[in-house]
Symmetry: C2
Subunit: 608 residues, 2 copies
């Protein structure tokens, strides 16, 4: 394993390593504050290596390829001036970490919170997030998931157009500020999950191809050239991405990585790159004595992704469970557009609770094929669930959150359905106070042709999906600014109540062991198709809870579905006046003979 | 499983089935001898179905797609007039089979013979092959492998540009004559292996895209659009190719399929199409009570291809072992061009004998990556070996056979090295008499632009690989004619002697159980790097043989490598005067203390 990048040493030297297997010469050209050029030496694996003495940290440099082409470092740690400018040396030893006592948060205990640095706060920086950590802690969040921070063009981007996987976005604050954020998170008992993109690189500022065969034309992704994980001359590419994962763990103390759209990682090698990555991360965790997690976003419903490495799986610790979202979403918001057409039956909600994947080999109308494999044998703690996320909100033409589409009773029901599931819950920033700002798609590429292509592409896409009207211009600064969370909303009692409601259900999940323990053992689901009633019973040792969820728009009598074992007490009714609901219909204590009535679009949680 | 195509019934009706999932109407338009049009009905899986009564076999028809587009049947059984013309109805029940007693040849007993219909005989037809069956039988061949016969444009093609997977090439004689050939082969105790192409379709006359999503842009093959085995809307595509495999077994009595370049079959589904195919073929074999085999051509050195389905393998019965060829070839012909650069060490020959894959995770200089997995645990009978094949000959610029590149002593050594290996041997047509006609690349597309592209492509390819001069024009009829085997050569004693030599070594392989039994048990290989000496000892029960092979160009004394257990008799010395060699140097009977001397480039086989 070769460490790539420019490594600043205690003795004020800097070691440079770059992979360029078929090039004839590589020089490092330091531009400032000194000016000097040093030839690198090539080893048999195609890595060029050299050491420059007496150099200052934060020096800026370029590589000169074959004597004429000047390019930033593919493994640049910082692009202070943006994607087209020289790279900047970083001294990774200089940061004073204060998280020595940090033990991490076990994956199964995480309450995740997905956020986008630029729009989470007005500042749009890592420092901005730090100011919200007390708030997040009060809410009960113990893991933030940061959308990608690898350097992208200019300042406005979701992060999936990053072109320097190792360089932390300059406008967010760069590497130093990310370290500070992680350090502060850990001191607030909050883990940090970083979203990383290993399936493509963005279209602007991507100079990797000038160094080596990082890309292959054998496969195609919807987002750009596929990364060369299995074609000829791939060893430096595989190493580059594995090094990238380890880099975040080692130098930024990141706790887990969320791997973006792994269905765009094409690898027919006998050992899939994800499996190799899982092995290397496991080795690192063992050396460090602290577990680091890999969480995949996967559109494949393929059990192999999260099956153990020993059983021919890729060994990812967990993956996002889209089927859970889609099942709930189509019932709650009655949306049937696009891939939602495969969902909308309450039995799918039940299956998602009981088994995970809803499509486990069944015919999918949207995909027009039999799709998926069963995940019934896999632990619920291997799935992350959500009722909103950046994609499900942002890929709507107008970027509406669920709060802009359904009433607040439905919102609370959806929140409970997620929080009392046996899966790891993830909120999307602002969801906890029913934020009403949209999360739109925005970019700020410098290449005008590219901007135009993106603008036209989005128009076309939405018109193909029968959306009416025109999408907001992704390049317009206003589109970005509109997407920033409006924190002032919290002064409004309605939003404040929603925050309190979320805080309450998070606290319940953490305090009741039947809700906290993520196993299929002790889980039973009953339902009534006509009434859209789902009852989830969960037990763990002495702890027993029962959650009645009425997905219909009518008040229902759920006595026939009585799962009450002995006198149980009502823990929370989402329809309670306290949460701005119409008022509970259930007594505080119920027995197996009690009448149970539930308001439209609400849930009642009972505990023994 | 839906049977596609036009099925002629006893009652003089014909049932038509075609997959066109997103079309609004499909009609069958019979053009001759009657004229009529019948609307087909669509089922929920996207298949259109209909029956036409009172129709003659050999009627010609088209499909009318959405009321205006007239196209041949994607599953046409016969394109009597070529790729751009209407399809022809075939009555598959009319052929009178006479092979009722045929029991098949077990894979591990096969002596294969690869042939190209067009150039194997002057006629260039299936009938032409029939006239050679006595000859092949005399040689000892018990399985012919026919290069692809699916309809391609005009008459000159290797077969990999086929565009109607179910239609037998008209210029070869069409479906009836192929049946006759198979029937005759079976009566000559010869099995028939058919080469089929499931990784792409040819560039001319491919109208499948007008019916449905047969292709995907997600992947790219070097030969054309990738087939949609795993993208949306793939069920009709998977079925189409599975039906194709079963079609050859059921209606043509084919014994085994050779699956062309399966590394171009991209399928990330949980169940790979090859695995599904293996399951379906197994089911068919069970119903029929006769085993049908699947043999993959694979460039992946991936053990999963031939591992059992139950152990997460794809369950192919066997695969071609390119590493065996390359190891031997580079020693024998001292060629280091292209991918041969990864070979040339005698230890690789030894590894190929002992383990199968030479590259089992090692770094490949040609591929610039670590490559392959170990096949040591797999049975030798799962590998097909050769010292020449259509690619290794035809992909040379001048299409030279090994006989045109090395002397006849080397040829005999190579032949023995193959025949006495623990693998299934395969000859390339004419190899047995050291044919000196080249096997060139030829095409006869009608599309002039395409022809030009192919011509230029080949020029470019060869110049990139440092071949000097210009390749013969693939479109020139002379290139094709030149490639036809010159059977008159057999009147020449030198060629006749080579034939006798091949017949002898085949007969030895069949008669000695140590040579016939394809297991690693009882196999031991010793070697001497300096002398390029390899000694293969094989035992099975009482049968024990020892083959001394001298790959060097000097006479060597192999006493130091003595593997003689007890007095053993010399079975054959390739350097014998009988085979036009310089004369044997070994006594007829040897013991453990005997001096063993071997001529340059020759082998001696001893048996107990």
């Amino acid at each position: 394993m070769t460490k790539v990048g420019s490594w600043y040493r205690e003795d004020k030297s800097c070691e440079f390593t770059v992979w360029a297997p078929s090039k004839n010469s590589i020089e490092v050209k330091v531009l400032s504050p000194q000016k000097l050029t040093v030839k690198l030496q090539k080893n048999k694996e195609g890595y060029w290596h050299g050491k420059v003495s007496n150099i200052l940290p934060e020096s800026i440099y370029l590589y000169v390829v074959d004597g004429n082409l000047e390019r930033p470092d593919p493994a640049s740690f910082y692009q202070a001036e943006g994607v087209h400018e020289p790279s900047c040396i970083i001294n990774h030893s200089s940061f004073q970490w204060k998280d020595q006592d940090w033990k991490g948060v076990p994956l199964e205990e995480m309450i995740m919170y997905e956020l986008h640095v630029g729009t989470f706060t007005q500042q749009g920086t890592f420092d901005g997030i730090i100011q919200k950590l007390d708030y997040l802690k009060e809410l009960g969040i113990n893991a933030i998931e940061i959308m990608p921070v690898s350097q992208f063009p200019e300042g406005r981007n979701w992060g999936y157009d990053g072109v320097y996987p190792f360089a932390v976005q300059n406008t967010y604050g760069g590497p130093e500020k990310l370290k500070r954020l992680v350090d502060q998170c850990h001191q607030h008992d909050i883990a940090v999950i970083l979203d990383v993109v290993y399936n493509h690189l963005g279209p602007e500022g991507n100079y990797l191809g000038d160094f080596g065969p990082y890309f292959t034309r054998k496969y195609k992704t919807p987002w750009g050239l596929a990364i060369n994980f299995d074609d000829n001359n791939n060893s430096g590419v595989r190493n580059y991405f594995i090094q990238n994962a380890l880099y975040w763990f080692e130098h930024f103390h990141i706790d887990a990585l969320r791997l973006d759209a792994i269905h765009g990682i094409y690898d027919f090698s006998e050992k899939h790159i994800l499996k190799e990555l899982a092995e290397k991360v496991e080795g690192h965790s063992q050396r460090e004595g602290r577990k680091h997690y890999l969480i995949a976003e996967s559109d494949l419903n393929d059990k192999r992704i999260i099956e153990p490495k020993e059983e021919d799986g890729y060994g990812m610790d967990a993956q996002w469970l889209d089927d859970f979202h889609h099942s709930l979403r189509t019932i709650i918001a009655e949306d049937k557009r696009g891939y939602y057409c495969d969902f909308g039956n309450i039995k799918q909600v039940v299956k998602a609770y009981e088994q995970g994947f809803v499509y486990d080999g069944e015919y999918s109308e949207h995909r027009k094929k039999n799709f998926g494999s069963s995940s019934q044998h896999l632990e619920p703690k291997q799935f992350v669930v959500f009722i909103q996320n950046h994609d499900q909100v942002g890929n709507r033409m107008m970027g509406e959150r669920l709060s802009q589409l359904v009433d607040s009773e439905s919102l609370k029901l959806a929140a409970g359905a997620m929080m009392f599931s046996p899966y790891i819950p993830m909120l999307f920033m602002g969801e906890e106070f029913a934020a009403e700002t949209p999360f739109l798609y925005f970019i700020s590429h410098l290449d005008a042709g590219l901007v135009k292509a993106v603008q036209q592409g989005r128009k076309k896409e939405f018109s193909a999906f029968n959306w009416h009207g025109e999408p907001p211009d992704p390049f317009d600064r206003g589109t970005y600014l509109q997407s920033k969370l409006r924190w002032a909303s919290l002064e409004d009692q309605r939003h404040k109540d929603m925050f309190d409601f979320y805080r309450k259900i998070i606290q319940l999940r953490k305090s009741l062991s039947s809700l906290r323990t993520l196993t299929r053992k002790g889980l039973s689901v009953s339902w009534n198709e006509k009434d859209l009633l789902v009852v989830i019973s969960r037990s763990c040792g002495e702890s027993y809870t029962c959650c009645y969820m009425n997905f219909s728009k009518s008040e229902i009598n759920a006595t026939h579905a009585n799962q009450i074992r002995e006198p149980m007490s009502k823990v929370i009714d989402s329809a309670d006046k306290k949460w701005n609901g119409p008022g509970t219909l259930s007594p505080d204590v119920v027995s197996s003979s009690s009448e149970i009535n539930i308001n439209p679009r609400s849930f009642i949680l009972f505990k023994k």
